[in-house]
Homo-oligomer: 364 residues x 4
């Protein structure tokens, strides 16, 4: 069934396959009156572009975005914003046995069982290129959030077992792994080089820090703010886990430690710690929101692997071509985008939560 | 805004507060023709009842479910199934300073900022009693899944830092902590007793094993099967993290290890390992589905805690009364319920995925 | 599949069968802070009660509503409002051949083909009693609308071919047919008496006048305000048509007449006529919103009718018992309720339409 | 808020403005395995093209559709089908006072009040060109319906007060007004010529006949099949009313006449009449489904009209340029498209209505 739409107030629908004519996104329900140009979006798309270092594929993906609708004279109009990136490189080639093989770690087998057929070119819909639409929509939402004083910032927390240690956000863009710690980035590079020598791949953890969200955002039950963030993040291909605040570590501690104490500071309610990651009972508590997700190692590796094909024959495959040995650095902006969409949507949702808000709005 | 409904085909809407007249759930879109009686549901509700051991509160919650609609002569009719549990114990009492305090680790502050007011009795809507509706709906979905050969089984994986070691599912119901390992259960009890002596509380990890789901279930993008399961689990109060298959450990391994090899066995496609946890690219791969979630320590503790109240005064509170020192054992059935709802919904969603399915259905 | 929920921001879900234990509604997404008591809702439910005249059935339906959740200390809390009316009269009786017959003009045959079984008692889910939930939710929405200066008022426009002529809204509640014209009401009564003598039934037209809705409400494409109103009205059993403003008459006129001219009046944009019925391009134009719906004659009549039963045998049936010879007067409040829900939902939806609204809201 | 998406299982989202870069539609949830090429869709788009007679505008709208995603090797893949038509003629021109005037009968005023700004070029989002996306999606759904034995056929029922009399569907495409009655078409042409001489415009009624839908399709409450059809039709610009079966005429008749008698014929349940228009209680009754909608006269006329502009100045405007004196003939295919989408979606929705369907599906 459907499932390419995310959001309650702002509805983001992505479409497109890796090697089809184009990929894109429709953002419906986005408010009128935001200055928006293609450059605002391109900035984000460029961050997910490959070929920026030896750890990302060297494909020449231009990925130039066009705004097809929803913007008039440089301002959003309130009607659906349609964004498109044309695929430059869609000439058919010989996919050999990859066309019918179930690549280990990929969705090929599931797609065949689900749909009876599949677009095998570059993974089709399950390709990482699907995230182009997410990133484009995220750029738009992030621009609105900025006007509300909210910043969304993701970075690499670890690659393999190399974790960041000294956190310095200003360092994030100074290394090709998006790590806010140059020493860790150095070690992670060494780790990745060893992987590559071995024709193998690595995973990692991405963390996202969201600042400026007031308390009271999110809904009590199934649409808890962290539940929506979790869906948003796990819906990114290769994500195998998500944590809010202390995450799994919280399961090992005690209430007396894990409970963040409330105190007053300059007339504001503050917390003395942030084990909660900025969300309590599914609703923002005014503190920084901190979420993390685990990315598995890139499944496409050039080592020989045992598998099965569509004819149910046992075969061995080697997956050559342009594949990132680790997708973590390129997924950082995708995580940022999904968080921006989720937070933006929840903040709009809050505006109808109280009768006095509504009366104030309609008072004239 | 709204947010009390979950599901695409089967829509589950819970309602009710801890100390209101009643709590319940409406299940819309549930198919006609399932034999269903109150006993089927009560069985599940009894598993989340308190007072079953010294580690769960001793409140006398009867929690008798009534089927109010959607069942005729013992069979579901296809129309909304309305289930209700009346609150027996709703007499008002003196909540003292708890009525206006922002209890650390609770959603009180978020509710006030969101809604401007709140039902402070027993946590109101943010109470664990909200899960009554989820468990009731989960029981109904689990019964349908059983007819399709799917079983959903959750258990305690760890309490504090005590993990299960020898996995024996048949032991789960032989100890009050729902641990499928009697030795670990013993150690966990000791750990909890130490917590209680200290007026403190503990957390833990719950794992859910879902067997019998064919390959091809789930949707490619935002409604990936694991993304929906993640929303479902993180929407349970106190859950701070979720993992699918190897989860965060996958981020530290390599592609050559993490990729599950496909092979043929008795004419069926099988995998030689299950690092994926039964889901690849958001779609079931035919293997057991394995998800896990982290539960934080119960925030209500009787130690004195610093906090702030609605008048923004700094105060100290002690939360006395009947509170579980650990909610993990009672949350096991809630996890099972949410997984059952999610899987059942996704399996129904798959039925319209192919034109040949549709033509076969309408062929007469 | 599901289909018992209506609304985008305020989600109204009805449940219950004619002769089940109870009927009710869950209103999710309703804002916090509205004073609300059972009396507010009972007022509306009493208007749809039978037994108020010789033209409505004399069943003793008490239909006392209970608020089960979402209201604390007389004020809505922002969490789901669950409302229930218990069925007093659910003792089983002998339905004779009605239990298996496909009553002409009823949904019996469709239900059997759809679900394979049905609750035949009193029409089950397809009974007019399902509207109890709608009316209860409508009462809540109408109360909020009132605080925003919006009034929703429905009345009988015609019964059979007896139309109102001199419109005087103050007369609506002075006759049992809800006609705002006492002369027409008199004639309609005579018409109905002739029907009843003949063991026959009648239909009619209900009009709803909605005042105070500012311009700018509704959405451009599928959720046009009139499209949502049309779904809302046609979803009421027995409605076979709907009109906005001049409706079908507009198809016979010309642009020069049908176009309402805009002019200024006391600094406000006004229209010199209202052929549009207050909605242009799916968006309110600031004028009174006027919608109308056609109600078919009550299908249950005591004349002998040819039909077929579940065994596909041709039979004759006479439907005795308590049935309204015309449901129009009792449906008036249902029309009002559905309009109130739709307008209220659309007005909340408008609050996020502009970036400047959002910045103003979050400015602090 | 959002509102550009229609459908429960098949979700159709249109985007685009009259004079933007392009217009299009994303169809999510469409099943895999349908042969589909651009020609299938172009056939429908060509039917809504202008310039086909003197009663439709002579703009050279090429309106060539491209399939951007969701089709691989000529077959749908189950992933979102993205369809686009580029706007050839988007050069800016001088709109004069039209740019700021509230054209009578148009949505201009509503848009300004709603969004604070608007794309005034050609009506922007409120242009009839938005229906390109609907027609494209309708073509895809109609192709699937055809494989299920369902045909959807709309035609002009009346223009002004000229109604069809002798119904002969084979004549529909032999006149420029899509009237299945050549004599009526002749008279309607004369009527339109008189309108045009007067610089005026006309409306009309479109009827749609849907054959082959089995009994049991549609849902009992808010998503009644006729309620969804009503939303679908009234969401088309200029539609001011909708009828199912006898529609408003049903309000004047009696139960004994309006009730369709059920009988057996060749082992099948049939009805001896079809006053219901194929839908009873919101569920298809196996008979032809008949719906009708009223189209208002084209609001753009070249007569001088009084109105107001964005500066709230009273002005007179004449709307010159290429405008259909009647949009009815071009709207016929739009009506067909919306009905096809609605019926297709409802038929897919029915597949999960019964436990025995589900067990049969998953039996292997």
């Amino acid at each position: 069934m459907a499932g390419s739409t995310f959001g309650n107030i702002i509805k983001v629908t992505t479409w497109g396959e890796s090697h089809g004519k184009a990929l894109g996104v429709v953002i419906d329900g986005f408010p009128a009156g935001l200055r928006l140009c293609e450059g605002d979006i391109q900035l984000y798309l460029d961050r997910r572009k490959p070929g920026q270092s030896k750890f990302t594929t060297s494909r020449a993906e231009g990925d130039k975005v066009s705004i097809l609708s929803g913007v008039f004279e440089g301002v959003t109009t309130g009607t659906p914003i349609s964004l498109m990136v044309e695929n430059k490189d869609q000439h058919s080639k010989d996919y050999g046995n990859i066309a019918t093989a179930f690549r280990p770690g990929h969705a090929d087998y599931g797609y065949i069982e689900k749909y009876g057929l599949r677009d095998y070119r570059g993974g089709g819909r399950s390709s990482g290129r699907e995230t182009i639409g997410r990133v484009a929509a995220g750029a738009v939402c992030a621009k609105l959030l900025q006007e509300l004083g909210v910043t969304v910032c993701a970075y690499t927390k670890s690659i393999g077992d190399v974790k960041i240690y000294d956190f310095d956000l200003s360092e994030r863009d100074n290394n090709s792994l998006c790590m806010p710690d140059p020493t860790a980035a150095k070690k992670a590079e060494e780790y990745l080089e060893a992987c590559m020598l071995n024709n193998d791949s690595a995973g990692g953890v991405i963390e996202c820090l969201i600042s400026g969200v007031p308390a009271g955002i999110g809904d009590p039950v199934f649409d808890k703010l962290d539940a929506r963030l979790s869906q948003a993040l796990v819906s990114i291909g290769s994500v195998k886990g998500v944590e809010i605040g202390d995450g799994f570590a919280a399961s090992k501690t005690m209430g007396s430690i894990n409970n963040d104490k409330f105190r007053m500071e300059n007339g504001e309610v503050v917390k003395l710690s942030n084990h909660s990651g900025g969300i309590l009972g599914g609703i923002s508590d005014g503190d920084d929101i901190i979420v993390r997700c685990a990315i598995k190692p890139t499944p496409s590796i050039s080592q020989s692997q045992q598998t099965v094909n569509e004819n149910h024959e046992e075969i061995d495959i080697e997956i050559h071509g342009r594949h990132d040995p680790v997708i973590v650095p390129r997924a950082v902006v995708v995580v940022e985008a999904m968080c921006a969409i989720t937070i933006c949507d929840a903040m709009l949702g809050h505006m109808t939560d109280r009768v006095d808000y509504i009366k104030e709005f309609y008072k004239n």
